[in-house]
Symmetry: C2
Subunit: 327 residues, 2 copies
């Protein structure tokens, strides 16, 4: 059956609040338990405290899978997004930015509960980003939000590892995985974050072996998942556990691993390196756009590199120019 959508993504629907931070600022926060260059889950109270300490910021819709969908649509792909915002100003911003780029987004907003999720992102002078997420309304994403019709009509369904951090969202995750199998579609997973892998290593490995067709990971996540500190050995340990494994390697590009082959894809140097927020999300978008358009794996990787190059050249995780204009 021809699919109406190339890609449907399910993730935590988040508005990013981005600010530059000095190394001294980060040192003080690390003392308070912040994990540098990672995603930190924080409470509403900690979010208020940290926001009060941060410099002036810029707001932009974010969320890992949401960024991927924005990039996918920016390449010209047709897609849908499932995620939970609240019925508040930030929720309206997220919904606007998602729909404005042509992504189908009809998840019912949460009324009368927690606010829309916010991610306080600190961008350091080396362009690395440390994320501090208050999940808010995302904690109320449930199985009921997983629209079978969307998954049945999407070539690929893409899930965030981050969803595992909330029990209801995790149940939604597994429902989606089951529906993908039922409708004979493809399942893609991003491991999201090394600390996220630490939290759910065994479950992620079981998912990769039993459900996932296409896996996205960076080096740190790959090493955490396999518990092997050498990248090449970690790749060999994972090879064949699912059809395609795309490992992003920062400025070294990426590696695409299938049962019998390893393709090395070069990075595309950005015009300027400003903020790496969303680099992995955009790579996945380019890769999956290529895949759903029937391109070779080499070309899929190249599209991933092109997308990531645009994203890291400016503050914020979503493209400022139409990615299709860069192909």
């Amino acid at each position: 059956m021809t699919a109406q959508y190339g890609l449907t993504a399910i993730g935590n629907a988040i508005v990013d609040i981005l600010a530059h931070a000095t190394d001294d600022f980060m040192k003080a926060q690390i003392q308070k338990g912040m994990n540098l260059n990672s995603m930190n889950l924080i409470s509403a109270e900690r979010a208020a405290e940290l926001y009060g300490l941060m410099g002036p910021a810029t707001e932009m819709s974010g969320g890992s899978a949401g960024n991927t969908m924005a990039c996918f649509a920016s390449f010209g792909g047709k897609g849908a997004y499932i995620g939970k915002v609240a019925d508040d100003q930030l929720g309206k911003i997220f919904a606007h930015d998602t729909r404005a780029i042509g992504v189908h987004f009809e998840s019912a907003p949460l009324v009368g509960g927690k606010p829309t999720a916010q991610c306080l992102i600190l961008v350091t002078p080396d362009a690395a980003r440390t994320m501090n997420t208050f999940l808010g309304a995302c904690t109320q994403l449930t199985e009921d939000d997983v629209d079978e019709n969307l998954i049945a009509h999407s070539q690929v369904t893409y899930l965030e590892g981050y969803l595992f951090d909330e029990p209801k969202a995790k149940a939604a995750f597994f429902k989606a995985a089951d529906l993908v199998k039922k409708h004979n579609r493809k399942l893609a997973l991003t491991l999201s974050d090394p600390f996220c892998v630490v939290r759910y290593r065994d479950e992620f490995m079981s998912l990769v072996e039993n459900h996932v067709d296409i896996l996205f990971a960076n080096e740190a996540e790959l090493k955490e998942l396999t518990q092997i500190s050498d990248t090449d050995q970690a790749i060999e340990a994972l090879r064949g556990k699912c059809d395609i494994i795309a490992v992003t390697l920062g400025e070294k590009g990426s590696a695409i691993i299938t049962a019998n082959d390893t393709l090395r894809i070069a990075a595309v140097a950005p015009t300027q390196l400003v903020d790496t927020t969303g680099a992995g999300d955009s790579y996945a978008a380019g890769f999956l756009f290529g895949l759903t358009e029937g391109k070779s794996l080499q070309e899929c990787g190249r599209l991933g590199s092109i997308a990531a190059s645009e994203i890291i050249s400016h503050m914020g995780p979503r493209p400022l120019v139409a990615l299709k204009s860069l192909i």
Copy 2:
């Protein structure tokens, strides 16, 4: 008496929602009555309609005088801001961004009324910006918000012409002007927008002649105020009506007009021309920072040019680097 603050500004406290727009998009909106490259006051209904048509956006605190204060603080100046936000998510963002850069901001937020003001800004391929403002909570700025203590202790009080668009805010404006005189401080005014000058020409001229010490205007505003279409003749018509008149001339720089002299200040070419939103606001900030630091008028103008150059090199009206690092 030594002033505790260099500058206190009073203005409409607004969060900007910035998106790129094509010329075709703008043509369709001009048909609906939008004034290109100007500030359009819009209703909540029109804001919802226009937002629904706009592309994905970035949010950033704005407001003309708010932008000026952010730039003034970024130069290292000590200042305060008076403006009305609502007790909502966008209001918290505005308050954060204002305080985070060191500006005193303690205006009580509006509770249970209209939302924080939003400005839908469409940036066209020529880097010009067309603003569409829903004033929301700003309509409830009143004389009670004008803190005499701040004005008494500020070398200069800076007012937006935009305040005239709401009767209560206009009353607050005149209260501030009276307090400046009472405490023997200086009053600065920006004419804000050519259409704003059309709406209040006679009152603005009376203000300039009787209250204002330092006037900021661009060419279009100058011509509207004087009703003279030749810039040099318009300058002569206005010369001496207040101590200092700073006229911004875009890429031609600016002219500083005193009773007996005209100084020509060169523009500073931006690294790239992206978005002119906030150019005039940042020029005023640099100029007033210089003035409150006792610099020559030539140097004041140069600081204005430096600030404007940084602002127009990126999306959004507030600096992305510390302006003091550019001196």
